[in-house]
Amino acid sequence: MLDFLQTLSDGVLFGAIYALIGIGFTLVFGVMHKINMAYAAASVGGAYAGLLVLKAVVVAPAWMVFLGAFLAGGMLGWLVYVTCFHFIPLSSPLAPLMSTVGMLLLIDEVIVHLTAGMPQNYPAMFDDVMLRFGEFTLRGDLLLVFGISVLAMIGLLALLYRSRLGLATRAVAQQPIAAQLCGIRVTRVNALTFVIAGLLGGLAGALIGASVGALSPLLTTPLTVKGLVVTVIGGLGSIPGAIVAGLLVGGFENLFQQFRGVTERDMYVMLLLFAFLVFRPGGLFPAKS
């Protein structure tokens, strides 16, 4: 029983990472109704950029590396917007999808070329903190990721529902033409959405690096897949949905691994996605029509 609980809690806590990535996917989808396939790669790219800070300043503390990742993530978010959305005809749903897939591969390969594919040690925060309840343990660094995911959700919801930018963002999401007629600069709002999602992505990348303990280009594809799964299960465009789905996928993933083995694990995660698509296509928190 203890093993079951430990497996479940480890998975749920690790799912906080999926939740952070899912939030970014869902934010962009909520505003532009487009999937940004390069999001996870840009997040990892932001984390790598944070490492440059570490290398530039000889003994940079972890928070400085995280700050570097946060800012670089925002810049990459803007870059992805400009290259993959701004000049692309958005009326064709395939065009931004393919351009972001291209960007995913480009970011991945740039990282590979800059690091020769070698894993890079990444500074951790609270990695030595382990909450112990007898034999049962909880990882301090993953609790931090979980806390940041919740804070990010609160912050984003506050931004969306308590600020002028949020009002403009919601207006653009609901009726871009009407929003434009009201004087809202749609392009600017879209770009800002990417920057905000990018900032969050950079932070997510840094937290992923910190919790895994290393950065590698190997991270981008599985995070992209998990981010998409989380976005669909949570409900496209739903920020709370992304968090709940992230934790759910993380927990299920670990349980499947425990009971069916690592080689079958991802198969069951995909079956879970399939089940949602068939029986609850709107996800856990379907968008209001």
């Binding site: 497996t7 480890d10 390969e109 070698m118 894993p119 890079q120 040690n121 990882r139 280009p217």
Partner: protein
């Protein structure tokens, strides 16, 4: 008349210059993109560095007594089977007399499959191209084709020797638990067919093993299994990224086995770059360390070409020197019209070899076209690899 004499002289001079500029092309191929890019980068650098040394000494002596320079052209197979097969077909269409590569065993296996199985088998239309592998290490692959040769370490011998030495050195150490990267050809084969088997053969009790995938990031369940097993030795058959992930999780969960054993490919800079602190003490058998004069020189020369010296890249270095020896002893012409004959000569020359000179000492060649290379055991200490024991 004078004009004709000048023209003849110019033609002769041009002919002579042409003769001096003869080249023997060696095609290298391996992963230069994706997460194993460093393997291809290092192999290419080592091959170019070795060719540079040979060229500076005059080059390769041809059948007619003239000399030819070695030209290395390297192709990126991205560690995928389909790309590897496509590249070997492309190489076959060039004037390369031999190919050196690939990096990944999952490329080598199907690629050797498209070569002619048996020499002179007229019913087999497979490619007749000698391939001399430097990196792909999964056991027994050269058996697939008589055109396939490898200069990779024999992991069975190395781990047999390592477990024997550990048994002698630490007699109180009794049990082994494995960790295996289940979806990577080399790691998987090395655990099930080599490490596990050799540990048992040396009297260890193998309690079991945990599995993970090459892209995994969460190892809590696997490390809990390792913790529950409470084995004296934890043997990790995985590449640097997941090796580091597992070692970091072991540190978090306070798992401290008496000894840690790693996979040959992890005795590289990558592991130290990813987790030097957590890898402290891990013991790995390797076929290269810069402990000899030749080894140090090879490492330094390769570094000038922006490559790192490790067991894989230094095999590429050795391959170029072995090929020079073979081309000279077999008397190739480096004439494009004789290309297929030259390839055959290189193949036959490689097949004849009983032993070669490597950077650590003499390498014995086996009947099935594999190498039995000298090796030693290294240990991660203070952020670098130090020689722990030389069993030979």
């Amino acid at each position: 008349m004078k004009k004709i004499a000048i023209a003849v002289a110019v033609a002769l001079a041009a002919g002579s210059a042409y003769a001096q500029e003869k080249t023997v092309k060696i095609a290298g191929f391996g992963a230069k993109s994706g997460v194993v890019r460093s393997f291809g980068v290092n192999s290419e650098a080592a091959m170019i560095a070795a060719a540079d040394v040979i060229n500076n000494q005059g080059g390769v002596k041809l059948a007619d007594g003239s000399k030819a320079k070695i030209a290395v052209e390297f192709y990126d197979d991205r560690c995928t089977a389909e790309e590897g097969i496509s590249i070997i077909r492309r190489i076959y269409g060039t004037d390369a007399v031999v190919a050196v590569g690939p990096t990944c065993s999952n490329v080598a296996e199907p690629l050797f499959g498209i070569l002619q199985k048996k020499v002179d088998d007229k019913g087999d239309s497979g490619l007749q191209m000698p391939v001399f592998t430097d990196v792909a290490i999964k056991i027994g692959l050269a058996r697939i084709s008589e055109w396939a040769f490898r200069n990779v370490p024999n992991e069975t011998t190395m781990y047999s020797s390592l477990f024997y030495w550990l048994k002698t050195k630490y007699p109180d150490v009794q049990s082994v638990y494995g960790g295996v990267e289940e979806d990577f050809a080399h790691s998987r084969a090395s655990w099930y067919a080599v490490m596990k088997d050799r540990a048992e053969a040396n009297g260890y009790k193998v309690i079991g093993n945990s599995k993970w995938l090459v892209n995994d990031t969460n190892f809590s369940t696997q490390v809990r299994e390792i913790k529950h097993a409470n084995a004296d030795i934890v043997a990790i058959s995985a590449h640097p990224f997941t090796t580091c992930g597992v070692l970091k999780e072991m540190q978090r969960q306070g798992v401290k086995p008496k000894l840690l054993v790693g996979l040959t490919s992890s005795s590289s800079l990558e592991t130290l770059q990813g987790c030097a602190k957590q890898a402290e003490g891990i013991i790995i058998p390797t076929s290269f360390a810069p402990v000899t004069k030749e080894g140090k020189a090879a490492a330094e020369t390769t570094a000038k070409f922006k490559g790192a010296a490790d067991l894989h890249s230094m095999a590429a270095w050795e391959n170029i020197f072995i090929l020079k020896q073979v081309m000279e002893s077999e008397g190739i012409s480096a004439d494009k019209s004789q290309l297929q004959a030259d390839r055959r000569k290189v193949r036959d020359g490689l097949a004849k070899l009983k032993q070669t000179q490597g950077l650590l000492g003499v390498t014995r060649r086996t009947e099935d076209r594999e190498a039995d290379k000298p090796y030693l055991f290294v240990q991660a200490k203070g952020g670098s690899w130090v020689v722990l024991h030389n069993p030979l």
